[in-house]
Amino acid sequence: MTLRDSAARLGRIGAGITVLAFLGLAAVYVRALVYTPVEANQGAAQKIFYVHVPAAWSALIAISVTGLLSILYLWLKDRRIDLAAAASAEVGVAFATIMLTTGPIWGKPIWGTWWTWDARLTSTLFLFLLFVGYLVLRGVLVDPTVRANLSAVIGVLGMILVPFIHLTVYMFRTLHPAPIVLKPSAPSLPGVMLVTLMSSLGVFTLLYIGFMMQRYALGLLREAREEEMANAS
């Protein structure tokens, strides 16, 4: 089986997972809107929680994967690792966009403001901007090896930068709700809501995997195509 065939197969599997994830997403929406009780203090606005948190989760996975693959690339120097890192970064930027748009929609009725310079908001915003920069840099570099090297450098630097920005803004001031699920004591979210959140997290993880596989397959195909063109000329 050629590289091209295996890439195409990977893309098809990714597409299958994505379809499955979209069906799951529809089910999660129904569950969140119809079968999960309305939160007493926040009212209907709280429903956005079931999209916002999973999107943030997927963005975080995507960007951590890019960081880890960047380190791995610098070690092994395999171009496929670079393609996977880039695929993950692109998918991560998409999820981060969902996170950064759903956040303000919730923030306006609950906080009374669209945006606040809180630690988590600021660090995710800079993370988003940094990874847009990463993708722009990839776009303007022509040589594949140089592109892979330089993007891996940004991937590694970015991973170290995020905790620094978080700490910086934390020392500045903070307002984001404190964790209610991932915290040392038991989750303070009622069971019904927790199940909805967890299913949504699962669905968004699946979406990430599906998108990522398709994007990686596309990267492989594009590279195979470029090589064919180079050999032909």
């Binding site: 840099l137 090896t145 330089l150 450098v153 590694v156 930068l161 920005i165 910086t168 020392m171």
Partner: protein, 226 residues
């Protein structure tokens, strides 16, 4: 170690000598710094906000922009006539190139800052001399952070056709921790707050310096690979 130091010294001296003879980047960087200081003075409502209130922010935004302008120069200089190929052919360790450029950039950015500070005091009427050694320490620590990441990134963006555009895009996120720390520390020093109020931010910038100077020096090798 000896070869590394000699190589780095030679590269730093070369860069500073070029700048000394032309003074193009230096003159434009300095004029730019004065312009930013002047423009920021008007970025407030004078009846509500005094110039002292925005002074720390103005100083650090000026430093950030001036540093960015100067850092672009470090490797754009080598792009013409394939200067970098020449340096890569010379028998010096690769890391000497980083440290040489780092040192030259520190001198360059530091000089612009040293001239901007008196102008800043003049324009914004702040009692900087009350805590002058501490202010210098903060500026030095933040400048090391700016220049370390900036040297690495400017070597990267010079490989693209859009170096002037790419450097601010990639570099600014990395300048956030030293920039915010610099503003906070300067504001506290100008208000005459005690040393115990400074510890947290100083530690943050110190940790940032250690992490990013090390990382930049290590990753620089990757950037030079063909």
């Amino acid at each position: 170690m000896g070869a590394l130091l000699r190589g780095a010294w030679a590269i730093a001296v070369k860069d500073i000598a070029i700048e000394w003879r032309t003074k193009t980047a230096f003159a434009s960087g300095l004029v730019f710094a004065v312009l930013v200081l002047a423009v920021l003075f008007f970025s407030r409502d004078p009846t509500a906000v005094s110039s002292q209130d925005i002074a720390p922010g103005a100083l650090w935004v000026t430093f950030t922009f001036a540093a960015m302008l100067g850092l672009n120069r470090a490797f754009l200089l080598e792009r013409e006539m394939h200067g970098l190929d020449g340096i890569l052919l010379t028998p010096v360790p690769r890391s000497a190139i980083f440290w040489g450029k780092f040192a030259a950039n520190l001198v360059f950015v530091g000089t612009i800052e040293a001239i901007s500070v008196p102008l800043f005091v003049l324009f914004y009427d702040v009692p900087i001399w009350l805590r002058f050694p501490e202010v210098v320490l903060v500026i030095a620590m933040a400048t090391i952070a700016f220049v370390a990441v900036g040297t690495l990134l400017s070597a990267m963006v010079v490989r693209t056709r859009y170096a002037e555009l790419m450097l601010p895009l990639l570099l600014l996120p990395f300048l956030v921790p030293p920039l915010v720390g610099g503003v906070q520390l300067t504001a506290r020093l100008l208000e005459g707050r005690p040393l115990s109020d400074l510890g947290g931010w100083l530690k943050l910038i110190g940790a940032f310096d250690i992490a990013f100077v090390t990382l930049s020096a290590l990753l620089f090798q990757v950037v030079l690979e063909e």
